[in-house]
């Protein structure tokens, strides 16, 4: 029966095959119905299996269902097999549910696009790969999903491939991810060498065996390298802002809610291994928190609606890694889920505004949009409250869980980075809220006349997400009894023992976070609503910092200077032109020239008929051949 869990990934596959093979004969409506319907079926199947799992709960906490042996060579075996436990179910549920809503939203958003069918084929392929990623019972199959979602990301970023920047951004995303995957792949190879398998259960069971701590550290860091690529952590974060070239629902689904969280999922899945290596944990938290802060600073100044959200995503993913490194895997997954809802909603809001304003992305040319888009504005504000961590919205509970864990494991100094980032988060997100929806209108008249609220296909999913952005946090209330998410995930993920923060302590931490967020919302309000002239003064006094931030710390430029340009220079100017053409090939031709020069009669033959030339060689060969035989036979 559990093998049927594979249906969860099969439904989107069917959807894409139908649209691929007969979609050209279907109307837009039916293409949309098939695409959305297949994901809805996945979502239903996930719910069914969650219920079944609950009532047939196995003692060991997980069920394995192998379909077949995918790769077998000697003792190296990779199964095409799924794992059903609370982690995979929770992930699959989040992915398929948010995915379904974004599919519905896309019907409205992409309705006019000539690439409508192609879009939904890609989107279904993405769902299939993402679900495979979370359902896999071994790293090998996880890697299939991992690369698969990367492919879809590539295709969808470059969806409008005629735009140079779009296809360039897609390529960049793929290559930067490949750099991370290089680490992931080596991590897998090292795991196979040390543990003899890629299956999660087997690795965990063999964990106790004496594997040197440096090896564990090596594995942990190599895998994290992959996670940093996929989840856009410093220094591999550069692809995500550019990924905003894709259609906005794609940004919502792939570059906010699901794919980019794959790294967090993978690290949590391998949490039992990370727990063995304190150094690895420290590095994970270090990179995570640094990225969270680093990205937030860029979000504060960027003028592009979607890019602000992209930096915000990088920053929130940093939080999740910080939680992983603090051993709070449950908090990481919890934040992953709440983030999926509110960040998807934020992106949908941005898409809705773009849709209304003819594709405008510069927030300086917006303002006052609320007048025409009541529902978009309302849902956007709800999502903003959620990401800012205002009680009782979803983000409050999950962010609080992370910050408490960081405080407990690494102490107040590290925790402060988290708090500062939280304050920046509330600031930049409400900067968007005010700049776009509430401040004085700066939209051009012509555009404004055409502005309108988005169609129901777009607004309804946003309402549902808004509802969840309010309530989903309640599954993880910080009191043991009510913490459903922890009770479920603790069966899979390692949970730190003896780390209970006292209630008083917890409440104080909460209040600090909350106060910080409220204060920075007030600041944003002042700067962007009341006293816009403050902003200019501020800019003037921090010109240099602003310059660095708006140029994204020049990371792209640095990479170009120290990696890409030298690579090209050496390959082209030195390796190709000097070594290959001049030295290797030149010497071959040189030998030919010398031998050609030795006798003029040779040249005659060579410049003559190709057939006779070849014939001569064959005859010559045969003569040599016969001569040797004759000799051997005699002697």
């Amino acid at each position: 029966m559990w093998g049927l869990a594979g249906l969860i990934i099969i439904f989107p596959l069917l959807g894409l095959l139908i649209n691929l093979f007969i979609g050209n004969r279907l109307s837009r409506k039916w293409i949309g119905v098939i695409a959305c319907g297949s994901v809805a079926l996945s979502c239903l199947a996930t719910i069914v299996f969650a219920v079944l799992f609950h009532f047939n709960y196995p003692a060991e906490g997980s069920i394995e269902a192998n379909w077949y042996q995918w790769i077998v060579s000697g003792s190296f075996v990779v199964d095409f097999g799924f794992r059903i436990d609370w982690l995979s179910l929770v992930m699959a549920l989040t992915v398929s549910f948010v995915g379904f809503l974004i599919h519905v939203y896309s019907v409205g958003y992409m309705w006019e696009d000539p690439g409508y069918r192609r879009y939904f084929i890609y989107l279904n392929l993405f769902m299939m790969m993402m679900l495979m990623l979370v359902m896999a019972n071994n790293l090998g199959l996880l890697f299939v999903g991992w690369e698969g979602v990367g492919l879809c990301s590539y295709l969808l970023i470059g969806f409008w491939f005629e735009k140079h920047s779009a296809s360039e951004a897609g390529k960049k995303a793929f290559i930067v991810n490949r750099i991370g995957d290089f680490g992931f792949l080596l991590g897998m190879l090292l795991i196979y060498r040390e543990f003899g398998s890629l299956n999660f259960n087997v690795i965990e069971a063999n964990m106790g065996e004496h594997v040197a701590s440096q090896i564990i550290l090596g594995i942990a860091l190599l895998l994290f390298c992959g996670a940093a690529g996929k989840s856009a952590q410093f220094p591999l974060h550069v692809w995500l802002p550019d990924a905003m070239e894709g259609p906005t629902p794609v940004s919502a689904l792939i570059h906010a809610a699901t794919m980019v969280t794959a790294g967090v999922y993978m690290v949590s899945r391998m949490g039992f291994l990370y727990e063995q290596s304190p150094y690895a944990l420290m590095i994970v938290t270090g990179i995570g928190l640094f990225t969270a802060f680093f990205a937030a600073t860029m979000a504060v100044v960027n003028k592009d609606f979607k890019r602000v959200l992209a930096y915000s995503t990088i920053s929130q993913l940093g939080y999740m890694f910080a939680a992983c490194g603090a051993g709070a895997y449950v908090a990481a997954i919890f934040h992953l889920i709440t983030h999926a809802f509110f960040k998807a909603l934020l992106f949908m809001g941005s898409g809705s505004v773009m849709h209304a304003l003819g594709g405008e992305l510069n927030i300086e040319k917006m303002g006052g949009v609320k007048e025409k888009m009541k529902w978009t504005a309302l849902t956007f504000v709800i999502a903003s409250l959620a990401i800012s961590g205002i009680i009782p919205f979803a983000g409050f509970w999950s962010k609080d869980a992370i910050l408490a864990a960081v405080w407990h494991k690494y102490g107040p100094v590290i925790w402060i980075i988290g708090i500062v980032t939280a304050i920046l988060t509330a600031f930049y997100i409400f900067r968007l809220v005010f700049e776009v929806f509430y401040s004085e209108r700066r939209v051009e008249e012509k555009t404004w006349d055409h502005a309108h609220e988005s169609p129901p296909a777009m607004i309804r999913p946003m309402m549902i997400l808004a509802l969840f952005s309010i309530i989903i946090g309640f599954v993880g209330l910080p009191f043991k009894r009510f913490n459903l998410i922890e009770r479920a995930l603790a069966t899979v993920l390692p949970v730190a023992h003896g780390t209970e923060v006292s209630v008083a302590n917890e409440i104080i931490l909460m209040i600090i976070v909350l106060a910080g967020a409220l204060f920075s919302i007030y600041l944003a309000f002042t700067f962007y609503m009341k006293k816009r002239n403050y902003l200019d003064t501020l800019l003037a006094s921090f010109k240099k910092i602003h310059h660095v931030l708006i140029n994204k710390y020049f990371v792209d430029e640095i990479y170009h200077k120290i990696i890409i340009a030298p690579l090209w220079y050496v390959s082209d100017k030195f390796l190709y032109k000097i070594i290959d053409v001049f030295m290797i090939d030149g010497s071959v031709d040189g030998i030919a020239h010398i031998s050609r020069g030795t006798g003029k009669y040779l040249r005659k033959i060579q410049s003559g008929n190709t057939r006779s030339y070849a014939f001569a060689i064959v005859i010559g060969m045969l003569l040599i051949f016969i001569y040797y035989f004759w000799k051997i036979h005699k002697g």
Partner: protein, 504 residues
């Protein structure tokens, strides 16, 4: 005697194309249509017959199957002796498949001297199959050399502007290597006799010989040079870009798809079991050359402006990976190498088909002349994409299976090999996607590109058949991996028994 009684299945597969070639030679040159159709039919029957090999193949036996052995020059111990085992089975299938595809792909491509062309193609097919099924060294050598001639003509007559230069270069390079090989074969023969053996050229008989280690070195080097040129390993690779650039599409397909595999096949069939000590001694040397090839080939591919040159250099990189898999002497490396030979044949063969389709429409191979083709040729797009991804090694497509197994093997042998070889996966994504983007994406701003016709039915059939195999191997590689298990294990056992090696 074989599993089909006395039915000479392999001979049928080998000589059907030859029969076709002879028949075509008698059809007057004005009946162009007949040349094509006959070539297609004979090659097609040969392909279908080769499928029977797969069906009746006994997966549990490491020995030669479907064996045929007839006296030829008995005084010298030369036999007409053919058969397939798990190592050659897939390569034979690859050859018959790609030959059929290549012939089909030539229909509109070749308009002059069709008689000679299709006869050459069929002769080439006979030669290639013969190389993989020969169980006798002399027979092997004859096929090896025989195959050179039609290929030489295909490049030299139906090739591009610098075809003569490229053809001669190809010919001389290969010839230099193979003449040394011939000498080595004869020396081997003499050693066998001097050790009191019956005069024989049967390849497997040499597996049980004890050859003095210092003699092994020389013999090994003679064989290895011939094979390394064919592969081609760095630094013997410069004939390849020239040959590819000048060869017609079908020539490139078979050159990359099949001919290069003869080098790697030779290493597996001859060098490892016959010269284990020398192999072991030179393993590190060959591993280093392989790794240089992987990275160097990729960097070369990165900076090319000509699509065919780019793909040619990518072959140097991919074949470096295959050689690495062979020389780490473990089962994952070896099986990965064999499956990767097939994969490379399919993906790179298909890439050349793709380039051919583009060239036929646009008459240029320069990357900069393209751009936005995805818009002009929407049906062409998914096939090109899948083939590109297969070459990059995306999971669930064929390339990944081979690359992954080779990396497992290399990493198990010594982790640094795995690390260095894996850089290839980054670089391959870089150069392939660069190419793909330059051709397919971007604005359709050149008016020559705007009117490119999309692919027709014949091209569609070709691409679908290749892509179906690419996906089949990627999703269910066991069909293919299982067929080689017994033979590869046996081979490694022969190697290890004669030489208790330490991993290099």
């Amino acid at each position: 005697m074989n599993q089909l009684g006395m039915f000479p299945l392999i001979s049928l597969i080998i000589f059907l194309p030859l029969a076709g070639a002879i028949l075509i030679a008698f059809i007057p040159s004005r009946f162009q249509m007949f040349h094509k159709q006959l070539a297609f039919v004979f090659s097609g029957i040969s392909f279908i017959s080769s499928l029977a090999l797969m069906i009746f193949f006994n997966f549990n036996s490491p020995l030669l199957q479907f064996m045929e052995r007839h006296e030829w020059i008995p005084q010298l111990g030369i036999f007409y002796h053919v058969g397939v085992d798990g190592i050659s089975l897939l390569l034979v299938l690859l050859t018959t498949f790609l030959s059929l595809v290549a012939i089909l792909a030539s229909f509109n491509d070749i308009t002059v001297h069709t008689r000679g062309y299709y006869a050459s193609m069929l002769l080439l097919e006979t030669g290639m199959i013969g190389v993989f099924v020969a169980a006798d060294m002399i027979l092997f050598y004859i096929f090896w050399e025989a195959m050179l001639i039609p290929m030489y003509f295909i490049i030299g007559i139906w090739g591009g502007p610098r075809r003569i230069y490229a053809a001669v270069k190809f010919f001389l390079y290969t010839l230099v290597g193979s003449l040394l090989m011939l000498v080595a074969i004869i020396v081997l023969y003499k050693i066998n006799i001097s050790q009191g053996g019956m005069p024989t050229f049967e390849i497997s008989k040499f597996y049980n010989m004890n050859i003095d280690a210092s003699v092994q070195v020389w013999l090994f080097l003679a064989f290895a040079l011939a094979f390394a040129i064919k592969v081609p390993m760095f630094p013997f690779h410069t004939w390849l870009p020239d040959a590819h650039v000048e060869a017609p599409t079908a020539g490139s397909v078979l050159l990359a798809g099949v001919l290069l595999k003869m080098g790697t096949y030779g290493f597996i069939r001859f060098c490892i079991p016959i010269f284990p000590d020398a192999c072991n001694k030179f393993a590190l040397f060959f591993i280093i050359l392989s790794i240089i090839g992987i990275i160097y080939g990729a960097l070369m591919a990165l900076v090319q402006t000509d699509i065919k040159r780019l793909v040619a250099y990518s072959s140097v990189s991919h074949l470096g990976l295959v050689m690495l898999g062979i020389f780490v002497f473990n089962i994952q490396g070896m099986e990965g190498a064999i499956i990767q030979m097939v994969n490379h044949g399919l993906s790179t063969g298909a890439l050349f088909l793709i380039v051919g389709m583009l060239y036929q429409r646009r008459h240029t191979r320069m990357l900069d002349d393209y751009g936005g083709v995805a818009k002009a040729m929407p049906n062409f797009f998914p096939f090109f994409m899948i083939i590109t991804l297969s070459s990059i090694g995306l999971p669930l497509l064929n390339g990944f299976i081979g690359e992954f197994l080779i990396l497992v093997g290399a990493f198990t042998a010594r982790s640094i090999y795995g690390v260095l070889a894996a850089t290839g996966i980054i670089l391959s994504a870089y150069y392939m996607l660069r190419m793909f983007k330059k051709v397919m994406f971007g604005p359709l701003d050149k008016k020559e590109n705007a009117s490119l016709p999309d692919i027709g039915n014949r091209e569609l059939a070709i691409l679908i058949s290749v892509v179906a195999l690419i996906i089949l191997i990627g999703v269910y590689p066991q069909v293919f991996l299982r067929s080689m298990d017994a033979s590869v294990e046996n081979l490694l056992q022969i190697f290890l028994a004669k030489h208790s090696i330490m991993t290099p």
